[in-house]
Amino acid sequence: MGDLGKIHQLIIPFFGHDITLNLEVILMTWIVFAILFALGFLTVRKKGLYPKAMQMFGEFYVGQFYGLTEDALDRKMAKTYGPLICALFMFLVLSNWLGILPHLEEPTKDLNTPLSLGIMGFFIAHYAGIRSKGFKAYVSEYFQPMFFMMPLNVIGELAKIVSISFRLFGNIMGGSIIILVVSHLTYSFVLPPILNAFFGLFVGTIQAFVFTMLTVVYISVQVK
């Protein structure tokens, strides 16, 4: 139980700074990439007017998420941001499911993954806001309703990064800590598979969806 919260790290000295690499997280992320590439390859391998099972799946998935993006933004913006949203959900849901396989761990269990995705979403949302409203209107929004509210508005925007990334991280890491402790206490008898199904499959899917939808609505709040 002592290894609660321990991480295998590779530390590279680089001109006086230490670069820390979390080896397991990188490896697990690459595994997710490999699965995604394989899925993408299988989906487009045999394209046809009468779709096969994999093509059906791909078209259905992309259609669903384009629809969700269109609901929140509009048709034109959905063309731009739809691919991002589809890719984000696929990556997150596979990452969250990875932990149910033995010896594999969720990349999202490490704060770095959700945090970098959250920062990415933040910058994309603000870029979209500046592009659609113009820089002047974008900046003047920070001085609403009164000019002295500016620092708090900025903190409020930055807090969005904290909340979106910690929500995913807390759920996935919390699930894995609970599974670890319960497996230890019950000598891995009966309960762990049920907990894995709940935290890995169910909570993992919901949290991946929530992260994706929040990224969409952050963009839509900035744009409109």
């Binding site: 609660l4 409020g156 807090a159 929500r167 759920n171 699930g175 919901i206 929530v210 939808m213 409109k224």
Partner: protein, 324 residues
């Protein structure tokens, strides 16, 4: 000396167990009672669906019960686990774990009663959409449990992590503050998430074809309602993982304890308020699905404003930790 430390630690563990289960029993019982009351109402309206309603009520109550089961697990751990005796810090950690889990189970327990009750009402209104209602109820009440899960994570970390090498000086206060921060902040978020989930079950029973939009808006609203408890979790992590320099002065310790209290109490209101905003949005998305995009955007803007008080609490808590 050794026996004194051991006595203190055992005593703290017992106190923590009592706090965990005592407080943890509050919320789930209220939530389950609400579900049962709504089920009775529903059966009296549509007696021929009483079997379905009873089944749905029991499933909903089982999910609401899980918050109390988390508290029971922590209480049993505190009662029977042999903790390594290093110094008095272990005692502070065990007491904090009990407080965290007990307070954290209150909101989720009450909150996950709402979707159960509204789903029972919905079945009496539209027996044909029972499976959709039950699925939506399960998703909604599982997301309601997230604040309780955060509390359980912090409680387990407080129980199992080794604080032996840290100075007793201000660290005891940091650990108790960490427990209070997540535990108290989870109350509002759990309750608020339940309001949104209840409104979504009601909405689906009125307009079954809007289920996709309603579930999406519910999930986004619940996620934002959880933000105060996430701020609480953040403050707890800072308090647990930051190594504070040894100091025998009391004010340094009180500052850390107050940081946890500030974030904890500061999170209750925004959690409930955000839940109310989400409840309103979800209810009206079901009635007027053509404007779901606008409704969601207004919900988010309103939630962001009501969230600002939680952000003030977080700023003050971080100032108490890093500056004072």
């Amino acid at each position: 000396m050794d026996t004194d430390v051991q006595t203190i630690i055992r005593g703290a563990a017992f106190l923590g167990a009592a706090m965990s289960m005592g407080l943890g029993a509050v919320g789930a019982a209220i939530g389950e009672g609400y579900t049962a009351a709504q089920a009775n109402d529903a059966v009296s309206r549509k007696p021929e669906a009483s079997g379905d309603i009873l089944k749905n009520m029991l499933v909903g109550q089982a999910v609401a019960e899980s918050a109390a089961i988390f508290a029971l697990v922590i209480a049993i751990l505190l009662l029977f686990l042999d903790v390594p005796v290093h110094n008095v810090l272990e005692g502070a950690a065990l007491l904090a774990a009990g407080l965290c889990m007990g307070a954290g189970a209150v909101g989720s327990g009450i909150g996950s009663g709402f979707p159960g009750g509204q789903a029972c009402q919905g079945i009496s209104r539209q027996p044909s959409v029972m499976s959709r209602l039950t699925t939506n109820m399960l998703i909604g009440s599982a997301v309601c449990q997230t604040p309780a899960i955060f509390s359980m994570v912090v409680a387990l970390m407080l129980i199992f992590m080794d604080f032996g090498s840290l100075p007793v000086g201000p660290t005891w206060a940091a650990l108790i503050g960490a427990g209070l921060s997540t535990g108290l902040a989870a109350i509002g978020s759990g309750y608020g998430g339940g309001l949104a989930a209840g409104a979504s079950c009601e909405g689906i029973s009125r307009q079954p074809e809007t289920v996709g939009n309603v579930t999406t808006v519910m999930l986004v609203g619940q996620a934002v309602a959880q933000t105060p408890s996430i701020f609480g979790l953040l403050v707890s992590f800072v308090l647990i993982f930051k190594a504070f320099p040894a100091s025998s002065m009391l004010h340094a310790a009180i500052a850390l304890l107050s940081a946890g209290l500030c974030m904890g109490f500061g999170g209750i209101g925004p959690g409930i308020g955000n839940g109310k905003a989400a409840e309103g949005a979800v209810r009206w998305v079901a009635r007027n699905v053509a404007f779901s995009g606008d409704l969601m955007r207004i919900m988010l803007v309103g939630q962001a404003v009501s969230q600002s008080t939680a952000i003030y609490a977080m700023v003050v808590a971080l100032v108490l930790i890093f500056v004072v």
